[in-house]
Symmetry: C2
Subunit: 299 residues, 2 copies
């Protein structure tokens, strides 16, 4: 009981990146303020990508600089796709990055426009140039791919080998299209843990097929204590009305707090933050369930 | 592996009952046809209530008569609130009923307008008059009540005693407002099983707080093999836009099939049925996730 679970809030990157309307810098900072105030200690604040590719992230350097100066005790990290992004991130003070690679070669090509070899080579350059940069691999399509389907758990572990050899210590297993099932989650984690007992693991489970909560809990009960989610579940596909994307931070925090886990997060403040975010971001797809609840339970 | 899980579809009662627009009899029967065609073998088809109280159910006798004659191998059951409803149900050939009582006295009063004693007494009369009628108790607010909060698992077991004494063999533990957590579900089932090893248990878990899937799986892994849900997740509250109500049958079936459980249900046919239902019932609240999915996975 009271086992600590760390919530890694990735809304300011994963939630914001697909929004068409630019969120002004001050609004972004307010949302991050709200997240910190609710007790969240790990936040992916931005992505150091080309502003031409993703205009929403054109203020990456400012967001990072302001947050790093304002909150010394929060673990801020950013997505970095290449050496150039790593350079900017390093210069503004970022010391921890997420680097995305897809387990599926075809998804890697479609999503990042690289072969597996090119992805690995780019990270090698980043780590060589910035040896003090802490790298977490976001392993996309780890549980299934729209082009290649599901692969055995052993293939996940085998794929990680090159990155472990580079010196990566942390992997975030991503269910990019929300097709994992709890039995599969347990198996993948079991196999990966057995192959690499010293690695740190995270999970990032989409709620697309209503399995965000059940798979995240399966991961926790299999030993993972770092969980990714987005405030309000922001990040659903804007082209698929009603389709759920990310797991909502408030949904998972409510359950974990209620089960007696120690998240260190105040649910009521988090829910208020989620509601304010929804008022601010009018073109977002929000899938958090708690925002619409009427039948409150007596305390 | 391949453990059998029986899905108890309750949409034609629980999903339909709150809809303001009357669904014509033929449309109801088409939905039931679709459910049977997908492989569902247990369906709560209607409710024998006063047509003044719930006009949607005014065709209860016809629905029951037609279904019972058309499908001899499907387990049809109906909700019956009182002796009068039991009489009509019995006369049209219904041999299995759900009888609702709330664990919480205040919810029982608000929902059914009876004291606990009155609820128990009414069932005694029904069972005395129709000793061959099979009764399953729908135990509402078993995991939490808007007025009284959560109660210890022992209180659930203690409450069931009077009904077991009447000769009831099956209980459906209902999370009426979607506040159970998986730890609680396991504990309640463990305590109830220990107190009554010979009882048959079902669960009926609402998805209000995004815990429909995780709590239902917790129940299954704690030994329950009868699961209630509604096609499309129909049954969300029409007064709380966006709020999820029932767990969607297609969501739970997809997961269970993918995990290797034997539901006997064809997911693709079920999803097609769900989409047709959504086209038919335009004023319903549907929360099923699969209806809006775009990123299909390769087989």
């Amino acid at each position: 009981m009271n086992k600590q679970i760390d919530i890694y809030e990735v809304g300011p990157r994963d939630g914001f990146q697909n929004l068409r309307t630019y969120i002004p810098l001050e609004e972004k900072l307010k949302i991050i303020d709200d997240l910190v105030a609710s007790g969240i200690k790990h936040i992916q604040i931005t992505s150091f990508v080309s502003p031409k590719a993703i205009p929403q992230m054109k203020d990456a350097a400012e967001v990072a600089r302001i947050c790093l100066e304002k909150y010394k005790n929060v673990d801020f990290f950013a997505l970095v796709p290449n050496l150039r992004g790593a350079q900017t991130a390093w210069e503004v003070g970022i010391r921890k990055i997420s680097y995305v690679v897809s387990l599926s070669a075809s998804h890697n090509k479609a999503n990042i426009n690289r072969t597996h070899e090119e992805s690995c080579e780019e990270l090698r350059k980043i780590m060589e140039r910035y040896p003090e940069l802490y790298v977490c691999i976001d392993l996309a399509t780890a549980f299934g791919c729209p082009f290649e389907g599901k692969v055995p758990a052993e293939a996940v572990a085998a794929f990680m080998k090159d990155y472990v050899a580079l010196g990566v210590h942390e992997f975030n297993l991503c269910d990019t299209i929300g097709v994992a099932n709890p039995r599969q989650v347990r198996e993948v984690i079991h196999v990966v843990r057995a192959a690499y007992p010293d690695l740190t693991l995270q999970v990032h489970i989409h709620d697309t097929r209503n399995m965000g909560m059940v798979n995240t809990l399966a991961a926790i009960e299999a030993g993972v204590d770092r969980i990714q989610s987005t405030l309000g579940g922001l990040g659903g596909c804007p082209f698929a009305p009603g389709a759920s994307g990310n797991l909502a931070t408030e949904d998972i925090v409510y359950m974990l707090n209620d089960m007696g886990y120690d998240t260190g997060i105040n649910f009521d403040e988090l829910l208020a933050a989620s509601r304010r975010e929804k008022e601010t971001i009018t073109d977002g797809v929000f899938s958090g369930h708690h925002m619409n609840i009427q039948n409150k339970m007596a305390e």
